[in-house]
């Protein structure tokens, strides 16, 4: 069976690419500290020697639209083109093409359906910055095949937080039951407190630093029970109007497991949002 080589959860900040590649005179003052944290984070994936990446993210009204909106969708395609005109325009993100692993996609779809998740699928999926930001931070050579999994954290009505946790647990079971000798890393990105298009946007830090502090603690200690008891679809509006992206972190807590302490925890307090980076090694820390 396949090996779950690493479980990785982080925020996805579309400004990182530009901040880290700009010429020195245009680099923002926080860029060097940010790059140092990302390089340390990247090393946690490199050390796991993955062969395949399962990438959990959320389309931002790019390919998925309100006339046909899936709650959970698995890509099954040999290739995934990536990034869209408006991401190029606003964030300077490059166009990319990533390979897929259709065998693992098929295994997750079949097994997920059989476990009671009515997963949607796509055979032609253009992925956006929720998946490409972690490729850029964690595997910039973009050389590994992926299985993209999209969640709806964006267009109400949304699935309940516990459902994200359950899907994360199912993804772990399915990766570990995949008949393959390959090493799989599951990587998911979401948000801590975040406001977009509302009165609290683009402040000197995230809109709710206290929520961020508690959320980092839940994730780092694998405290799923506490997270589920303190978070609801209604309560997530309070830390910021885009904070439902935290449910992708909850999904990743489900992958990592109850009480699983992260082997790598790091944060960076930026303007607008707090960045957070977590890695778990289910098989033990690689030598």
């Amino acid at each position: 069976m396949a090996t779950l080589a690493a479980v990785i959860a982080s925020t996805h900040h579309p400004f990182y690419y530009r901040a880290s590649t700009a010429p020195p005179e245009e680099r923002p003052p926080f860029a060097d500290a940010w790059v140092a944290k990302i390089l340390a984070f990247r090393e946690t994936l490199t050390r796991a020697r993955p062969d395949v990446l399962v990438m959990v993210g959320s389309d931002h009204f790019h390919q998925l639209w309100l006339d046909n909106m899936p709650q959970f969708l698995v890509g099954k395609a040999p290739f995934y083109d990536a990034n869209f005109y408006n991401e190029e325009r606003e964030f300077g993100l490059p166009r990319m093409t990533l390979r897929g692993n259709e065998d693992l996609s098929a295994h997750i779809l079949r097994g997920g359906l059989d476990e009671g998740f009515d997963l949607a699928f796509s055979n032609e999926l253009r992925i956006d910055h929720s998946v490409t930001c972690p490729i850029i931070t964690l595997r910039p050579q973009a050389d590994l095949p992926i299985v993209p999994i999209y969640t709806n954290i964006f267009a109400p009505p949304l699935p309940q937080p516990w459902r994200f946790v359950e899907l994360g647990r199912a993804i772990r079971r399915l990766v570990e039951s995949w008949p393959s000798d390959l090493r799989v890393a599951v990587i998911g990105t979401g948000h801590l407190s975040l406001e977009l298009g509302g009165p609290r946007q683009f402040g000197p830090h995230g809109p709710d630093p206290e929520f961020d502090r508690r959320a980092v603690e839940w994730i780092a200690t694998g405290d799923i029970e506490r997270a589920l008891s303190e978070v609801s679809l209604d309560s997530l509006w309070n830390p910021g109007n885009a904070t439902h992206g935290f449910m992708d972190f909850m999904l990743m807590m489900g992958v990592a497991g109850d009480g699983a302490k992260a082997d790598h925890v790091d944060t960076l307090d930026l303007f607008h949002t707090m960045e957070a980076y977590f890695t778990w090694y289910p098989e033990g820390v690689p030598a």
Binding site: L66, E195, G197, G198
Partner: protein, 120 residues
């Protein structure tokens, strides 16, 4: 009231570079044209098929025609769509990075929780 149609306008304009410029320069003409020719296009469907029933309410039409993002927020347009499109149109007019985004937030500062419902 059709939050869905408001969002559809923002979504279809935002993904088309020519329409972004056209809406910036001629909001009234663009909204009139879009509502009469594009509003009933089913985006994920065979071409040639269309809907028959989608129109803006007068306040929605006015908010789009006047580039009034505060009013769009109040009407429940999806904040991500509004923000993204308005950054594309107006960030360039501000000399400092993020100056437009910060002004955008300040102009919404009279809203408190719960914000207008964005469910569609």
């Amino acid at each position: 009231m059709s939050k869905y149609l408001l969002n559809k306008f923002l979504y279809t304009v935002d993904r088309d570079p020519d329409l972004v410029e056209r809406y910036r320069e001629d909001p009234s003409g663009t909204v009139t044209w879009w509502e009469s020719t594009m509003a009933n296009t089913i985006l994920n469907c065979h071409t040639g098929e269309s809907s028959t029933w989608l129109t803006f309410s007068p306040p929605e039409r006015d908010a789009l025609t006047s580039h009034d993002y505060v009013r769009l927020f109040e009407l429940g347009a999806h904040p991500f769509l509004t923000l993204t499109l308005f950054i594309a149109m107006f960030e360039r007019d501000y000399p400092e990075p993020l100056a437009f985004q910060k002004e955008y937030g300040r102009r919404l500062s009279h809203f408190s929780l719960p914000y207008p419902d964005i469910s569609t």
